[in-house]
């Protein structure tokens, strides 16, 4: 069965929030919008976002690493948010695995969000329905867009090209390959949610220095040393 999903490359993600604001920008005006913002110019601005970026630090100085985590709905294959929905408003599409909310059926009980271990559903207090990442379903199947634009907004905008999109079940897809080749992993693997979205781990490049070749014996260096150490 097809499972569309995002694969996020933590080897290039610099935590810039481009995916988050572009997602907001696209989705607030598109089919699943608006994404309400409450008190946007006041003390506690609080809006609905489909995609948020968090940053973590690992280890102690100076062995510190930083880890940016862009987090949007993972479109789990065993999505715990779907069966708990009493009305069926929260559903997983069979044809592509996208988890969606049908706003017309949503009664706003919030139970789906309680059942998501990732915190990837956000309730819109103005519309009183649950909102979440749609993988830009209103872009990816929109035939009025040029084919290269039929991708989620976050993928198109990512300046670090850290976001891949495709069918992770299709062995010929780019996402399938990068997951396999680069040890893609999922969040909370023990939660048995079987997320669609994967992350590619950071790798560390090293430069090999051959100390057999390198010798501190540059004659010019030695000459300077000799000349200027003579006098003291």
């Amino acid at each position: 069965m097809a499972q569309l999903a995002l694969v996020i490359d933590l080897n290039t993600c610099v935590g810039c929030h481009a995916c988050a604001t572009n997602c907001k920008e696209w989705n607030t005006q598109a089919a699943f919008g608006p994404l309400s913002d409450f008190d946007p110019y006041g003390r506690s601005p609080e809006g609905v976002w489909y995609n948020r970026i968090m940053s973590y630090e690992i280890g102690e100085f100076p062995d510190t690493q930083v880890f940016h985590l862009p987090k949007s709905c993972l479109h789990c294959q065993d999505a715990p948010c779907v069966p708990v929905c009493p009305t069926g408003a929260s559903y997983k599409r069979e044809q592509d695995g996208i988890v969606l909310v049908n706003y017309d059926d949503c009664i706003g009980c919030k139970l789906c969000s309680w059942s998501c271990p990732y915190g990837c559903r956000e309730f819109d207090e103005a519309d009183k329905v649950m909102k979440k990442c749609t993988l830009c379903i209103d872009r990816i199947y929109d035939e009025s867009l040029p084919p290269e634009h039929r991708k989620p907004a976050c993928v198109l905008t990512c300046p670090a090209k850290a976001r891949f999109f495709g069918d992770i079940e299709d062995q010929n897809s780019e996402v399938y390959k990068v997951i396999k080749e680069r040890n893609g992993f999922v969040l909370f693997s023990q939660a048995a949610t079987n997320p669609g979205n994967h992350y590619l781990p950071k790798t560390e490049t090293k430069v090999h220095v051959d100390d057999h070749i390198l010798r501190p014996d540059n004659p010019l260096f030695l000459e300077v040393l000799r000349r200027h150490h003579k006098g003291g």
């Binding site: 810039c16 481009a18 005006q29 630090e57 905008t157 670090a160 490049t205 010019l220």
Partner: protein
């Protein structure tokens, strides 16, 4: 649910202005409201991607902070009490003020432009007013990088050039205060990393880019120069140096006269024809440097020689080598920087290995300027990027110089995999423009034009803008003895200098897109005092302040007359090659902005500054704006962009010139030029062929082409300045040995400064604050800007402020522990000039000698269309309150800056941090202005923002 392409009825290509990168954007509009902004796929800068700021452009467009009509101050200055007036009245007032000021002397007008992207035009306008006092924001931006680069290699970073991300295998990013530039960098770094390159971050903080770095070098602030000198020491010791590059392309082998106490000391030894000389080891004789390549000389790098006249001379490299060997061994550098010696050695060896032992070769044929054909192009895939963290110290110029020298030693300038210049750079250093010199402030009379350029690159003391006593001619002290090689001006000194009437008073101060009353100035309490101070008669010492801005900034609140600007989606605007060019490595680029939405329809009675400028210029009958019969030359700014020429055939935009639009770069104005830009997705990109991509400084085909379009003045090698002779001329002046007409005032501290810091070869010295603040203020305090706000002025942006509505003081846990500070404690940060209260955040991403915060998130209460009690004005804080704007040198208070360029050294600040007794979560000091009069309605309207036009 409805799906499908209904999200726009109009689509237009333009250029982003959410920060300074000038990316191409596709703007989708429905019912005159922007629905979506996407990166322009075709644009060479961002290749279709768009950052967090660019994607939030819609919220800039509809921000409640937007001004909707001209404002005239009615309350005291800084109270925020204004009345809205009509445009006619506003322009009448400005014309009257400017005319009066011009009659008192045009220099009494100070026109400074902040986030200016039309510097060439604004500078020209200032010249038309007759004033010498114009500059953009370079003085507090990264002029040290620009100046060091231009004086060293005829180019520099960012607009001037960048790493060859396509081919580089080792990329070191140094002192990037989180982002500079935005999309191009992220695109480049990911490309390099995917190809298996190593990415090293040198920064006291590991954060955004640090996450994907293969190595973090947590350096102590202000010590980077020593770090690079240490690296060069190791490279030299292990013979990991591109000697051929140094020999052929730089002046490293040129002989320098060693005659202390004479006017020739430290200058190049020249023959009778004025040709600099080298010592050719093959023939054992002195030869002209220009013959190194043609005659295949073997110039000496090391040694001491005697000329026929009896001068002792040494190759420039020899002098530098002595310094490297004596002063910058890794062990010595470890003590300065806190980076272990063995790491310095390893990093140097890594660089050397990649650049020298493992060069790459591209199958590209090219011809050098001496006529040698190269079958292939050799590359040295090590590259660098340096910015704020290097620039914003009092040793910034010399530190930046260390990097350019390192790049020369590795042979990576203009080499594949190294650093590549973007056309129109590189330029011949000796041909760089100089500021138009006047020798007294009132040299230009009423009705006369200051021909400009206002800014440029002085080559010796006689180029300075000083009067006969050696006092500054410019209000910002640029090109004065205190800041001789200013390059981009010293915007940061304008308000204090005008307030202190030092060197003279200012009648009308004009600020365009600059927030000088807040986050773009330092020592804010002092700046606000300067802006509001009155004389005994009760008149403001700075009599008139005009500000042009689209938003209700703190600067707007401290102005007398405010012109509400249109946004970047509402106006004609040229992103010109005459400016800091928006070019790509592969060729020159310039671009257009054009009105996409109509502000009037959205209730804003605003005018683009360009239109206002044309109107004021015409009303004042400034020579450039009127025909001989007194009629206006330009209808509006659009007309101006098309028809204005800086010299015949060269105007604001380079593409599609000539009557029919068939000429590029040089050609008469084309009435349909802008339509052609719009048709071509908003930009002009002249992609150069592969054989012109590398070694541009000596690439015959490139130089011939560049010469033909006026980018360079001759087809001759651009010799890199390993040794900057110009610096030595100032040093000689400090020693009383300069034989020119400009002589420094008799001030021993100034003279010592000239002698000490104007070293033609880079060296490291501690930032000035070290001496003044000493142990009492042990920590370095600095600011960075988060990627989602870098170079933006959108903290009021509804979406971006949800990410960061307040800032913390980041501090290393071990440092905090010593100070008894716990996570999230409220603390005081105190420098020698004051203190600010803020909340501490403990993090291992920060090295122990540093504390830092995000800049410009803290706001003045009441400004920026935000409710007065917002986080930005309560829990957020502005570090600028404690950043000194001046320093006492001897008995004189001198503006705080790099002694060579005057670059404001805001990262020098040293502080002590201690727990606040009062843990109330509000910053201090606290400033407020009255919000805009109609803002309450806006807030009500926007209580819940549901943007779906």
């Amino acid at each position: 649910m409805e799906m499908g392409g209904s999200f726009y009825d109009r689509k237009a290509y333009s250029t982003c202005y959410m920060c300074a990168c000038r990316c191409g954007i596709e703007v989708y509009v429905r019912n005159n409201k922007v629905t979506y902004i996407k990166g322009n796929d075709a644009h060479p800068t961002n290749k279709g991607v768009l950052c967090a700021k660019g994607s939030s452009g819609i919220m800039k467009e509809y921000s409640p902070a937007r001004l909707r009509k001209p404002l005239l101050r009615v309350g005291p200055r800084g109270s925020g009490e204004f009345k809205e007036i009509e445009w006619d009245e506003a322009i009448d007032i400005a014309v009257k003020w400017l005319d009066e000021a011009r009659r008192k002397g045009p220099q009494t007008i100070a026109f400074f432009t902040g986030r200016d992207q039309m510097q060439a035009i604004n500078g020209w306008f200032a010249g038309q007013l007759g004033t010498v006092n114009w500059a953009a924001h370079g003085g507090f931006c990264s002029v040290n990088i620009a100046a060091a680069g231009l004086y060293s290699i005829g180019g520099s970073f960012w607009e001037f050039g960048e790493a060859d991300f396509e081919n580089t295998k080792y990329f070191m990013m140094v002192g990037v205060a989180e982002d500079h530039s935005s999309n191009p960098f992220k695109l480049g770094i990911q490309e390099m990393k995917r190809k298996g390159g190593k990415f090293v971050v040198v920064n006291p903080v590991r954060w955004g880019y640090g996450a994907v770095a293969d190595e973090w070098v947590p350096i102590k602030p202000g010590t980077d120069g020593a770090f690079f000198l240490g690296i060069m020491h190791v490279l030299f010791k292990y013979n990991l140096v591109d000697w051929e590059f140094l020999k052929e392309y730089t002046n490293a082998t040129w002989l320098v006269i060693q005659a202390p106490g004479t006017p020739k000391d430290g200058l190049f030894y020249r023959n009778a024809q004025g040709e600099p000389m080298v010592f050719d080891q093959k023939s054992g004789t002195l030869k002209e440097a220009s013959k190194i390549v043609p005659e295949d000389l073997d110039p000496a790098f090391i040694g001491e020689f005697t000329t026929p006249e009896g001068y002792k001379v040494r190759p420039a490299f020899d002098i530098f080598a002595e310094r490297l060997v004596k002063d910058y061994s890794p062990e010595k550098v470890e003590r300065i920087t806190g980076i272990p010696a063995k790491d310095i050695e390893r990093i140097a060896k890594e660089m050397g290995t990649v650049a020298i032992l493992e060069p790459i070769e591209l199958p590209i044929e090219w011809t050098d300027v001496w006529g040698r054909k190269h079958k292939k192009t050799k590359g040295r895939p090590v590259s660098f990027h340096i910015m704020r963290g290097i620039a914003s110290h009092t040793n910034g110029f010399q530190t930046a110089r260390t990097v350019f020298l390192l790049m020369m030693m590795l042979g990576v300038v203009d080499a594949p995999g190294g650093f590549l210049n973007k056309p129109p750079y590189p330029k011949h250093i000796e041909d760089l423009p100089k500021p138009y010199r006047i020798d007294k402030p009132d040299a230009i009379k009423y009705g006369e034009v200051y021909p400009g350029p206002h800014l440029g690159y002085v080559q010796n003391p006689d180029d300075l803008l000083v009067d006969e006593k050696g006092n500054p001619v410019r209000i910002d002290w640029a090109y004065s003895w205190w800041f001789p090689m200013t390059a981009h001006g010293c915007i940061q000194n304008v308000i204090p200098a005008a307030y202190e009437r030092n060197p003279y008073g200012i009648e009308v101060m004009i600020w365009y897109m600059a927030n000088m009353a807040w986050n773009s100035s330092q020592n804010i309490p002092y700046i606000l005092k300067a802006l509001t101070a009155t004389d005994q008669a009760g008149n403001y010492i700075i009599p008139k302040i005009i500000t042009i801005d689209a938003f209700y900034s703190e600067q707007v609140a401290y102005s007398d007359l405010v012109f509400p600007d249109a946004t970047y989606l509402e106006q004609w605007f040229a992103l010109s090659l005459l400016d800091r060019p928006p070019s790509a490595v592969d060729g020159p680029v310039d671009a257009l902005r054009h009105p996409i939405v109509d502000p009037k329809e959205n209730g804003y009675d605003v005018k683009p500054w360009g239109d206002v400028m044309v109107e004021i210029g015409s009303r004042l009958k400034l020579p450039g704006f009127v025909n001989t019969d007194g009629s206006s030359k330009y209808k509006d700014f659009k007309d101006f962009i098309i028809n204005w020429q800086v010299r015949p055939g060269v105007g604001a935009l380079a593409g599609w010139r000539g009557k029919n639009g068939d000429k590029h770069f040089v050609g008469e104005p084309n009435p349909n030029q802008l339509e052609m830009y719009i048709k071509n997705k908003g930009f002009f990109y002249y992609k150069l062929p592969e054989n012109m991509r590398y070694y541009r400084h000596v690439n015959k085909d490139y130089l011939e082409w560049a010469n033909s379009v006026g980018f360079v003045k001759k087809v001759a090698p651009i010799t890199f300045n390993f040794y900057i002779e110009a610096l030595q001329t100032f040093r000689l002046a400090g020693q009383g040995l300069w034989e020119g007409k400009n002589q420094p005032p008799n001030d021993p501290i100034l003279k010592e400064r000239l002698v000490k810091y104007f070293d033609p070869l880079p060296f490291w010295y501690p930032p000035f604050e070290e001496e003044v603040s000493g142990n009492e203020f042990p920590l370095y305090a600095f600011t960075q800007r988060p990627m989602w706000m870098y170079h933006s002025w959108d903290s009021q942006n509804a979406w971006l402020r949800q990410i960061s509505s307040r800032n913390y003081l980041y501090i290393n846990p071990k440092t905090a522990q010593k100070l008894g500070i716990n996570h999230l404690d409220w603390v005081w940060v105190e420098s020698r000039i004051g203190k600010v209260k803020c909340q501490a955040f403990l993090t291992n991403t920060t090295e122990p000698n540093s504390v830092w915060t995000w800049n410009a998130i803290g706001k003045m209460s009441g400004a920026w269309g935000l409710k007065p009690d917002v986080d930005e004005a309560t829990e957020g804080f502005l570090l600028n309150h404690v950043i000194p704007h001046s320093i006492k040198l001897g008995t004189k208070e001198i503006y705080y800056g790099d002694p060579i360029t005057g670059h404001l050294a805001w990262f020098d600040t040293k502080v002590k941090v201690y727990k606040a007794q009062d843990q109330t979560p509000v910053t201090s000091p606290h400033f407020r202005v009255k919000p805009l009069p109609y803002i309450e309605e806006k807030w009500k309207e926007l209580e819940v923002l549901r943007y779906k036009p």
